[in-house]
Amino acid sequence: MDWNGWPKRFIRNASMRRLGSGRVLAAAAGIWAAVAVVSVMAGADLSGVSPEIRKEVLWNLRLPRVLLAALVGAALSTAGAVFQGLFRNPLADPFVIGVSGGAALAAVLSIVLGASATVLGLAPVAAAAFVGGLLAAGVVYRLARVRGRVPLPTLLLAGFAVGALASAFLSVLLVAASRSWSEIVLWLMGSLAHTDAWSRLRIMGPAVVLAMGLAAIYARDLNMFLLGEESARHLGVEVERAKRMLLVAGAVATAAAVAVGGIIGFVGLVVPNLARALVGPDHRDVLPVSAAAGAVLVSLADLGARCAAPPLELPIGAITALAGAPFFLWVLRRKARS
C-alpha cells in the first residue's frame, strides 16, 4: 500500500520538522553521561588528599549529586509536560496545583520547629516537603471536585488559591522565625548540595520512577485531552479517572523533586516546550524526551552552580532561570515568526 507521508517519523513538511524521539533520547543519554563524568571530576583538587577522603568526595558527594540532579530534572520536566497537556496550556508548570507552596510551607515549618528526626533515612526538611506538597495537591483536588467531576479550570484556580494561601502563611512564618532565615532562604532557592544524597535518591528515586511510569501509561489519554475534555470523553477516555491518575503522577513527581532539591523554577516550564519543538506534541514522545532533556539540563545547571564562582555555590534555581528564560524567549520568538 502506498503510505505517502507515513509513518510520521518521515514527515518533512516545510512547517514541521520533527526528529524521532529515539535519536533525541540517545543523544540526551550521551550528553548526560559526559556531563556526569565532568561533574564527578570537577571541583576541588583531590590529588593531595588521602584515598579515603577522595573516595568519600567522589562516591558519596559528587556522584549521588549528579544523579540527584538528573532525577530532579526528569521529575520536574515530566510533571511540567503532564500539567501542560492536562491544562492544554504550554505555560503551565509543575507548581500550578499548589505542590510547591505546600512543600515550602511544610519544609519551613520543620525548619522553624527544629525537627531533627529522620524519616526512613530522609532529612526532616525533605520528608516534610514531600508530604506537604502531596497534601496541598490533595486539598486542591478535593476543593475543585464538584459532583464527582473535577473541571480543569476550577482545579487551576484552586491551585492558585492554595498556593497563595501557603505563601501567605510562609510570610508570617518567616517574620516569626528570623533566626532561621539563611537556612530557609537557601532551601527556597533550591540546592542539590546534600550530604545525605544517597538516601534521598533511595527514597525519591522509586517515587519519581513510579510517577513517570504512571504518566507514560496515560500518555495517549493526555493526547486526547489536548482536544478538550469533552472530545476526550467522546473518544472513549474515562476522563475523570485519567485526570486523577495524571494529577497523581504530576504531583508525586513534583513533590519528590521539591523534597530533594527545593524549588527549582523554569525547568518544568521550558523543557516540555523544548521537547515538543523537537519531536512534536505526541505525549508518547514528549514524556520520555522531556524527562531525558530535563535530566541533562538540571545536571548541567548544577555543574554551573558548583563551578561558576568557587568557592561560592550559586543557587541552582538562579542558574536555571538565568539560562532558561532567554532560551525560552528565543523559542517563543522563533515560533511566532514561523
Binding site: 513538511n13 489536548l226 478538550g228 469533552e230 472530545s231 473518544l235 472513549g236 512534536g280
Partner: protein
C-alpha cells in the same frame, strides 16, 4: 420495526439553573438521518450532549442498544458505537491532521497497543472520504475553520461507529462541502448507520434528513418527515415571523428568509 439504536426516554437536562431540555423522548434507528432544528438556545446542543454520554440527564434515561448509556456503558464501548462531531475544537498543540484522525481509533485500542496497519487504513479511508487526505501532514493549528471541521468529521468516521452525532455539521463549510458532508452522512445512513445532526439550515435538512425534530424551549414541538415539519405555520410558531416556505422546484419545501 427495527429496535432503536439510541433511545431517549423523557430526558430532562439542566446546568446549574433552570432546565434546558424538558422531557424529550426520541428514538433513532438504523437507516435514519434525524435533523434537530430549533431557535438559538432551544436546547439542541444540550440534547446532543445528553445523547453522547457527555452530560447525564437530570431525569429520564438514555439507552444505547437498550442499555443505559450512563449506568451500564463504559466510555470506550460507547465510543465504539457512537461518534461525535463537535461544532469546533480548539487545539493548542500542533498535532498533524493525520494524528488527530488517528485519535479516533482510541476506543479500538488497548492501553498498551500501538496503532496497527488496520487503524492507519481506517484513518486513511476516513480522510479520503472527507477530502482531507491531502491535509494529512499539516498541523491542525494551521488549518482553516472548514478544513478543521472536515478533519474532525474524518476523526469521527475513523471511529467506525454506527451512530454519528453532529453539532451543526455544515457550519464553517462552503456550499460545496456542506453538500459533500451531508451526502457522506446520507451514505453512512444508507449503509446501515444512523445520524443525528443539529441543523440550522432547514433546506439542507429538507434535502437530506429522513426525520426532522423541532425543538422549542427544550421541548419537542414536532417530529416527522421534513415535508410535514417544514411548513410555514409550524416554522413560524417555532422561529418567529421572518420566514416563508415556498415549493422547491424539486418538490420539497424551500424555506426563505422574509425581510419585513
Amino acid at each position: 420495526m427495527k429496535d432503536a439504536l439510541l433511545k431517549l426516554e423523557s430526558v430532562s437536562c439542566a446546568y446549574d439553573g433552570p432546565t434546558v431540555v424538558e422531557g424529550v423522548s426520541l428514538e433513532v434507528r438504523a437507516g435514519e438521518f434525524v435533523a434537530i432544528a430549533g431557535p438559538n438556545g432551544s436546547g439542541k446542543t444540550t440534547l446532543l450532549r445528553a445523547a453522547s454520554r457527555a452530560m447525564a440527564p437530570r431525569s429520564g434515561r438514555v439507552l444505547l442498544d437498550g442499555r443505559d448509556l450512563y449506568e451500564e456503558t463504559d466510555a470506550k464501548s460507547a465510543a465504539r458505537r457512537l461518534a461525535v462531531v463537535p461544532q469546533d475544537a480548539v487545539v493548542e498543540f500542533d498535532f498533524l491532521a493525520l494524528e488527530i484522525v488517528l485519535m479516533g481509533r482510541y476506543p479500538h485500542l488497548g492501553r498498551f497497543d500501538a496503532e496497527t496497519e488496520r487503524d492507519r487504513e481506517a484513518a486513511r479511508q476516513a480522510m479520503e472520504r472527507t477530502d482531507t487526505w491531502e491535509l494529512r501532514d499539516r498541523p491542525i493549528t494551521e488549518l482553516s475553520g472548514g478544513e478543521r471541521r472536515r478533519v474532525l468529521m474524518a476523526r469521527a468516521l475513523a471511529q467506525e461507529a454506527q451512530i454519528l452525532l453532529l453539532d451543526e455539521p455544515t457550519s464553517h463549510l462552503d456550499i460545496h462541502f456542506q453538500v459533500e458532508i451531508l451526502r457522506l452522512l446520507k451514505n453512512h445512513v444508507d449503509a446501515g448507520g444512523a445520524s443525528v445532526a443539529v441543523m440550522h439550515d432547514l433546506n439542507l435538512a429538507a434535502a437530506f434528513a429522513s426525520r426532522v425534530v423541532l425543538l422549542q424551549e427544550g421541548r419537542v414541538t414536532g417530529e416527522g418527515p421534513p415535508r410535514e415539519m417544514l411548513v410555514e405555520e409550524k416554522l413560524k410558531s417555532v422561529f418567529g415571523p421572518h420566514l416563508e416556505v415556498r415549493a422547491h422546484p424539486d418538490g420539497g419545501p424551500l424555506v426563505l428568509p422574509r425581510i419585513p
